[in-house]
């Protein structure tokens, strides 16, 4: 009785999901609209997808964005894994409080502040050292690595906190060196968290407008920057088509990743607690 879904909660859930998905549904619907006017339905058409495929500016920006996102996510994966490992395993070291702040603060820092401060750093570095020479893809990648590291670290730390250390101890007892234990035991066991962290850093980078705008140079216009400037000029069905493709890609990726990550975890959970349904009723 206590654990049933009340009508009020069911209605609120329905309202919430309609609110979350209604705008996305209308966005997708109108990407197939034959009319140039985004809001007047004039029949089904894939015209805007064809036009999008021929839009050179968008294609170039998409390639730039993907290159930045892959580099940034990979860099963030390395740094974030090290940071998450340190935070979870090393309980005490000098500067731990500062380190903890540096790892988690980028998660909530308003993007305009992060973007402005990084740009000013790059300008100051260029003045003092001559590096980095101007703003380019490199400066965006550095900015996105910093942001992504925080997300990867939190995901890895959470995974390590729920980690059964007896396997590591067994390997150490059997004479494996700590380095080998890390690569042969720890890393494969936290692999799902690493994948999730990489994907998170990748999508954050792909989606970022504000930080990229501050740190980009003339030759490094990213996809969100192109979308933003075209949206500022008005609604365009081409952007709807692009958004639909983007949403489809992300949804499929997340579903596949969720299966890869959730599958083994669920199996383990079931093995540990054989009859969860029986406890509930």
């Amino acid at each position: 009785m206590i654990n049933r879904l009340s009508p009020f909660l069911a209605v609120m859930l329905a309202v919430g999901y309609v609110f979350l998905y209604g705008p996305i549904a209308s966005l997708i619907l109108y990407s197939f609209n034959a009319s140039r006017l985004v809001t007047v339905w004039a029949g089904f058409s894939t015209h805007w997808y064809v036009e999008l495929a021929h839009n050179e500016a968008i294609r170039r920006a998409a390639l730039v964005s993907i290159e930045i996102a892959v580099s940034a996510a990979s860099g963030a994966l390395v740094l974030g894994t090290l940071a998450g490992f340190a935070l979870q395993r090393y309980r005490r070291f000098r500067g731990r409080a500062l380190f903890g702040t540096l790892v988690t603060a980028p998660l909530v820092m308003p993007e305009v502040i992060t973007g402005l401060s990084l740009l000013l750093l790059f300008v100051a570095l260029e003045q003092a050292l001559g590096w980095p020479a101007g703003r380019s893809m490199l400066t965006i990648i550095i900015a996105h690595v910093t942001l992504g590291t925080a997300y990867v670290a939190v995901v890895v730390e959470a995974r390590l906190a729920a980690f059964d250390r007896s396997l590591e101890e067994a390997a150490l007892d059997l004479g494996a060196r700590p380095m080998k234990v890390f690569f042969v035991i720890t890393l494969p066991l936290i692999a799902p968290a690493l994948l999730a962290g990489w994907l998170l850093a990748f999508t954050l980078s792909l989606d970022d407008l504000v930080i990229a705008s501050f740190t980009s140079g003339p030759s490094s216009t990213t996809l969100p920057m192109v979308i933003f400037s075209s949206v500022r000029l008005g609604v365009s069905p081409q952007i709807n088509a692009l958004a639909t493709l983007f949403l489809a890609t992300v949804t499929v990726t997340v579903l596949i990743a969720g299966r890869l990550i959730g599958g083994p975890a669920r199996r383990r959970e079931k093995a540990r607690a054989p009859a969860p349904a029986a406890q509930e009723s």
Binding site: A10, V108, L116, S117, V154, V210, P224, G258
Partner: protein
């Protein structure tokens, strides 16, 4: 290889990276907020100057005085707090029943319901804000529907006003409220509610006396995750807002990109940071407790 050496090897890379690309930049922002605007590359005066008589220090509080002297900045500040605060409250009122609903839903559905909350977080923020423009415009989907049903005879002004900004923030940040609330409510032991019922509590009394107090950490975490980024929001007031919805994040953007006044933009950033320091401290503590 000693243990201490190994620790240092693990720490040095992320620590150095974050110090250089997250901590040092703030010090530079602070420094430049004390400099004067100048025409040139970069467009500000150096703080340290080597003249004839050695080094001399030039700092000025003029940028901060400027922020206080022009009521535009103060209004943008208060606006940002108002928009972020009210939106956080609306997120809580909508997100709490959603999170509670997911916890109470049949076990088989829970994964799917949760995924549906997380999925928008993975999709483009910019695209989701853009979607509302097509819905809210004067000749947009919502106005067309209302006109067609005869409920209204003239299009409503839904876009480029405060309403659209509230809507945009609530829509964009709702998942950040639902997820920590769900994590907290899921830990709640149903036996506590059974005990309350056995002792004569009506369901809403049990909610007020048991569920709500025990979910406070989740409420706090969700509120901070919505409020802090929303205060600095730029995209939403820029795309959905109008002339009366200026927020401090947009002011910073305009100072930098339109006026090219780097020192004033830096002073705005410092002022915003001071405002957010207390809630950020709370957020860090909560995040720490959550993962530790």
């Amino acid at each position: 290889m000693s243990d201490a050496f190994r620790r240092r090897a693990v720490l040095v890379l992320p620590f150095a990276w974050l110090a250089l690309f997250f901590l040092v930049p703030f010090l530079i922002v602070l420094k430049i907020s004390l400099a004067e605007t100048a025409i040139g590359v970069p467009p500000y005066t150096p703080l340290l100057d080597r003249g004839d008589g050695g080094w001399s220090l030039h700092t000025t509080l003029a940028n901060y005085q400027f922020l206080f002297s022009d009521s535009l900045y103060l209004r943008a500040y208060l606006n940002a707090i108002k928009f972020a605060g009210v939106s956080t409250l609306v997120c809580l009122l909508l997100g709490y029943p959603m999170a509670y609903g997911i916890v109470r839903a049949p076990r088989a559905w829970r994964g799917l319901l949760l995924l549906l909350v997380i999925l928008p977080f993975w999709t483009s923020f910019l695209i989701r804000v853009y979607a509302w423009i097509g819905l809210l415009k004067g000749n947009g989907v919502i106005n067309n529907l209302l006109l067609a049903t005869g409920l209204i005879h003239e299009p409503l002004a839904l876009l480029n006003n405060a309403f659209a900004v509230y809507l945009g923030i609530v829509y964009s940040y709702l998942p950040f409220m639902v997820l920590p609330l769900y994590a907290q409510l899921e830990k709640l032991d149903p036996a506590l509610l059974e005990a309350a019922a056995d002792l004569g509590c009506r369901p809403w009394q049990a909610f007020g006396r048991v569920t709500l107090p025990l979910s406070l950490p989740g409420i706090a975490a969700g509120a901070l995750l919505v409020f802090i980024p929303a205060v600095g929001e730029f995209v939403i007031p820029d795309l959905l807002g109008g002339p009366d919805t200026l927020m401090i994040g947009k002011v910073l953007w305009d100072e930098f990109f339109t006026n090219r006044d780097w020192p004033v933009a830096s002073a705005v950033a410092v002022a915003m940071l001071v405002l957010l320091l207390v809630p950020m401290g709370f957020a860090r503590r909560l995040l720490r407790d959550e993962t530790a």
